[in-house]
């Protein structure tokens, strides 16, 4: 055990001594999250919208006032016919059109049901989704206050229709997505590079010659990164929660355990990569192209998987981050328990075991 402890201490020394490693470990995750977050929240000010009010009564005017005073929206133009809608979108100034049906106030009075249509430009899917949700929220709020009588449920029915992109992905994509990306980056890339560095420097030869067993070497390399990645995961969750108001509806313990599982998976992938790569450069290259890009592009982080060609959907099914993102989204947003995410968890666990198995088989006590 003495020899193993010495190994772990040495790894921590490497990490704490190298400013670049420290930056990748802690600087980049925070920066990335803040940038994503800033970009997303910043967009939620002063969006230009158009309003087509067919009814022009007191209720619609009040509701319009509510929408425009929310701070999220600015009225770009008031439309007078349905023909103007397409035109308005094409000019590119507006992101959303709110349409009040004829006799809105009267119908609400009489029938307790009125229709408002919200049309959003979904060429930027996440933004459109957020816009519609905010509009939705304002109208719901209005509806409850407008008719607080508990006898009837909120009486305005909202009819949403997305144009340019029929299906949209979730609002809070960026926190889970960033978390997957960062854990992948930190865990897989840093471990693969650190093992490759030992190969390059020739120190691995001496380690292999020593009485240390291969699993000692692997575990010694991995443990510091498990600790650091886990701290990272917690930092991201805290930032998500406090800065961006990302809810945690499900069990925190489950959330952290799933994070730990994903970290293990990323680390085993990192080790596997290092068995393929002879130099730090190659390790970096493989990590970037085999892990980072797919995480960004194929996991559903940026582009919805459902809209991909079938072949890319299959490839996406092989991407570990996809399952992780699904799991944490479900836990955080839906409050799902293990009974709902066990399939994804099982897949991640299986992948982890597979890579550990492959790594141990490839990580030989000899060179050839």
């Amino acid at each position: 055990m003495k020899s193993f402890g010495g190994f772990v201490i040495k790894e921590f020394n490497h990490i704490f001594r190298d400013r670049r490693t420290m930056l990748v470990l802690f600087g980049i995750p925070v920066a990335q999250l803040l940038i994503f977050g800033y970009v997303v929240t910043n967009e939620f000010r002063n969006f230009r919208i158009a309003i087509f009010d067919m009814s022009q009564d007191e209720v619609t005017r009040e509701l319009t006032g509510k929408i425009l005073s929310s701070g999220y929206f600015i009225l770009d133009e008031s439309l007078t016919s349905t023909d103007g809608i397409d035109e308005a979108f094409k000019k590119g100034h507006i992101k959303e059109v709110v349409i009040f049906g004829q006799g809105f106030g009267k119908r609400l009075e009489k029938e307790g049901l009125a229709t408002v249509q919200v049309i959003a430009d979904a060429s930027d899917a996440n933004t459109a989704n957020l816009l519609v949700n905010y509009t939705n929220g304002i109208i719901q709020d209005f509806a409850i206050r407008y008719r607080p009588a508990p006898a009837h449920p909120p009486a305005i029915r909202i009819e949403e229709r997305m144009i340019y992109n029929a299906e949209l992905k979730g609002v809070y994509m960026f926190v889970p997505g960033t978390m997957a990306l960062i854990l992948m980056l930190v865990s897989a890339m840093m471990t693969s590079i650190s093992i490759a560095r030992e190969k390059e420097m020739g120190t691995l030869e001496v380690l292999l010659i020593s009485p240390l067993k291969p699993y000692h070497i692997i575990a010694g390399k991995v443990i510091p990164y498990v600790v650091l990645s886990f701290i990272n995961a917690v930092v991201i969750l805290l930032l998500g929660f406090f800065v961006f108001g990302m809810p945690v509806r499900g069990s925190l313990a489950l959330l952290l355990s799933e994070s730990l599982l994903f970290i293990s998976l990323a680390l085993s992938l990192g080790i596997f990569i290092s068995t393929l790569a002879g130099t730090q450069q190659v390790a970096m290259f493989i990590s970037m192209f085999a892990l980072m890009l797919p995480t960004l592009l194929l996991s559903g982080f940026i582009f919805p998987v459902e809209n991909m060609p079938l072949i890319l959907q299959w490839i996406s099914a092989l991407m570990p981050p996809k399952y992780f993102i699904t799991i944490i989204k479900d836990i955080m947003l839906k409050g799902s328990g293990l009974e709902f995410v066990w399939e994804e968890t099982l897949i991640l666990a299986g992948m982890t075991l597979l890579f550990i198995f492959l790594s141990v088989r490839r990580f030989k006590t000899r060179f050839v």
Partner: protein, 304 residues
Amino acid sequence: MKAAVDVRQISKSFKGLQALKEATLEVRPSEIFGLVGPDGAGKTTLFRILVSLLLPDGGSATILGHDTQKDYKMIRRITGYMPGRFSLYHDLTVSENLSFFASIFGTTVRENYHLIRDIYGPLEPFAHRQAGKLSGGMKQKLALSCALIHNPSLLVLDEPTTGVDAVSRKEFWEMLAVRRAEGITILVSTPYMDEAALCDRVALIQNGRIMGIDHPDGLVKAFPWPLYAVASEMMYPLPGHLKEFHLTRSAYRFGDRIHLALREDDPESVESFLRSKGHTKISLSSCKPGIEDCFMELMVNGQH
């Protein structure tokens, strides 16, 4: 006497290129055995096989009676290995490197400090300097300390003096002599022919083939031709002219002389031949061959 290292007909190929051709050698206990040859001769390959990092294609080897393939765990305990390029952690300090290598062998620096006192002592003022910032000679001393800290019976040193200046090289060999006196067996490789004279026995290796094994004196005595050191007023064309002479076996530049090996011992005819080529101030004296003479002779011999 039982051999400390026993290598029998080891062969190894990489991608169709034969790195070792049935190499056979014996290292006796407590001797400094030198493996001398240029880059690409097969020195590193042989060492890696011995310390169980590589498996040979054919042949077998034992270290202190342990088979390098079957008992590799034992081999790794009793061997101190210093790969080429010194293999230190450049971002760790001098003392961190030493403690680390002690810890992975399950020992501590304090426990075995007596083994390295003379080598590590001069480094102690720099204990908190990062290893990457040491000079070549100091890195070399630190790497040797790290290889010795677990009290190995056998030291395997792969080109420990390459890229190190002449002063550090000399000191390094002095340190090896001390280890030998303590009973450690040392197997060391070098591309510098002059270092062969500092070994108890040497194997000359070229193109994966061991060309000769003996005491340095024995190798030199086996040099088959009379050898002369020749100089004249015109040093540049001298080797070329000597090669034209019909009794010349070989003529190579050595420092400020040409070493001339003759098929027949007839120095007078050499002198008159050189005079006929216009050389003046000819100096021709019988000289003792060195390892480098032997190496080149064996290289040429092997090609025929």
